[in-house]
Symmetry: C2
Subunit: 314 residues, 2 copies
């Protein structure tokens, strides 16, 4: 299969090949995916069998608009994962200079470079991308601190843990696109569902690039049910907050200082991230380290039955 080659979390198979054990033996904390997913509703047979129809797409769109308080003048486009949108966004404008304050999620830069753009830290730019809150350090952006650019992408893939911080109100401005990821907060990354919210003329071009029926019938049905379930979201935020504090406590006792993150992943300062990764791997716990940092270790949250793997880490 053809594919891309950015450094990502995941890749349990590679971890098992390097450190041993079967794939199923591992606890994967290398991603920022909620380990207690939204419970799958019963799916009607035609979610699988029929071409997804306009009514199902509308139901998902209505639920998404209500859940995220999308401004009326902003468009909304569902896609098979935020990554499908990230890959096409750089084609929305002629190649120029794009500001991507980092370090951050590396698919944005890779997608812009693949379309001939130059990635810069600051200065006059033709486009800007901020990840809000940022991955891996959890930095949040104030609306008036965003880089000024005619095309502005605000990636809120991890923002559903802190909805009050959302900048979705800016999505009604020309040239702005806010990205949302369904897989992370709702813990259903395999479903492939993400959203672009923003300038309707830009979204129409992204829609044309995706083609008709971009989102699967199961994703339309599960997404609509989950986005209508405000109670689940609220309870999940409380649980993730508590679990993040619990993980920080374990890591502090083991000598790792919390640098930041979100309630879906924690970033720790350590004196030897590779050594930490190997130590955790001996317990079949897979972590994330970063090619650009000799201090950082990132961990997602374990499911309730996974905490025992961290016992006695200190």
């Amino acid at each position: 299969m053809a594919g891309t080659a950015q450094d990502h979390g995941g890749g349990l198979d590679a971890a098992a090949a390097r450190f041993g054990g079967a794939r199923g033996d591992w606890l994967d904390l290398s991603t920022g995916i909620n380990p207690l997913p939204y419970p799958l509703p019963d799916l009607p047979a035609n979610a699988w069998t029929a071409l997804p129809d306009a009514a199902a797409a509308r139901a998902l769109g209505d639920a998404a608009r209500a859940f995220w308080s999308v401004p009326d003048r902003a468009g909304l486009l569902a896609a098979p994962g935020a990554s499908a949108l990230i890959a096409r966004i750089p084609a929305l404008a002629p190649p120029g200079r794009v500001a991507i304050p980092g370090p951050t999620y590396n698919e944005h830069g890779a997608a812009f470079v693949a379309q001939g753009w130059q990635v810069v830290r600051a200065g006059a730019v033709d486009a800007a991308v901020v990840v809000h809150p940022n991955n891996p350090d959890g930095r949040v952006w104030a609306a008036d601190a965003l880089p000024a650019a005619p095309l502005t992408i605000i990636d809120e893939s991890f923002c559903d843990v802190m909805p009050d911080a959302s900048l979705v109100g800016l999505a009604a401005r020309p040239g702005v696109i806010v990205l949302k990821s369904f897989g992370k907060f709702w813990g259903l990354a395999g479903l492939r569902l993400g959203f672009a919210i923003g300038d309707p003329s830009l979204l129409a071009r992204l829609a044309a690039a995706l083609g008709p029926w971009p989102v699967s019938g199961p994703a339309l049905a599960v997404g609509a049910a989950a986005l209508r379930d405000a109670g689940w979201a609220e309870a999940t935020r409380a649980r993730l907050d508590a679990d993040a504090a619990r993980l920080d406590g374990i890591m502090a006792a083991a000598g790792a200082r919390t640098l930041g993150g979100t309630p879906l992943f924690r970033l720790y300062d350590t004196d030897d991230p590779a050594g930490w990764q190997a130590r955790l791997a001996a317990r079949r716990v897979w972590s994330r380290i970063f090619p650009y940092s000799d201090r950082w270790l990132r961990l997602g949250l374990p499911a309730p039955d996974g905490w025992a793997r961290l016992d006695g880490l200190a």
Copy 2:
């Protein structure tokens, strides 16, 4: 939701709005989707929860290569539906002239036009698209009858009913891409799964346009199981052949002559397609007519419990 506006089959909601009845009352024969889908296997929980990993993608790719006898030198790329590939293919070359012998499936022409191409019937061209067998008339192409073009797309979305006719052997040639659709023959159009098979350099560019993890975990798992099941495919071909003959018999008795099609859809010559569509709609059977033809009516095959709707049509 943003979207495209080509004339398609499907759209039961629009049919119900126009002719009455609830969506669930209708028998949808407006598409060419197998009405007896591949039975869904049990899905592992991580097909829904985890980012689809390389091993699952490889398993699907291996099954697809074996099922379709893909030449070793041809690449293979899985996508969330053939439509996602059709939308991006015109960006593989600078806009020029594309031959699309028609009438045929209209998304190809729409996608090329959206990228600035000129669609022509014949002559010297920069690209060519053939649908093989063609939708709606069932025309099949011989390898030596294909239009000559540096970029050649062979859309085999409906070819799994007649595997001996496949031109996948040409997929090892530079500039050739063969498209396969999973949704139609396996009756799981909501799953969103399709494939490009062909020139590895072109497929690498399509992969970059799709972004990482383009295919859902459920689609990887269901697709791999189905493509390994040669017995189901063989039995399905025999059933579709028999059902197509049965439908032709009913329509002949009612005064419609079979013009062509495939065992997944039948094309009939009638003196009044709109009148036929209304007559069938009175029975809550939804059919396909074509804006460019005042003779053609297309019907898909009913499931076993759907035939009674056609009783007494003559």
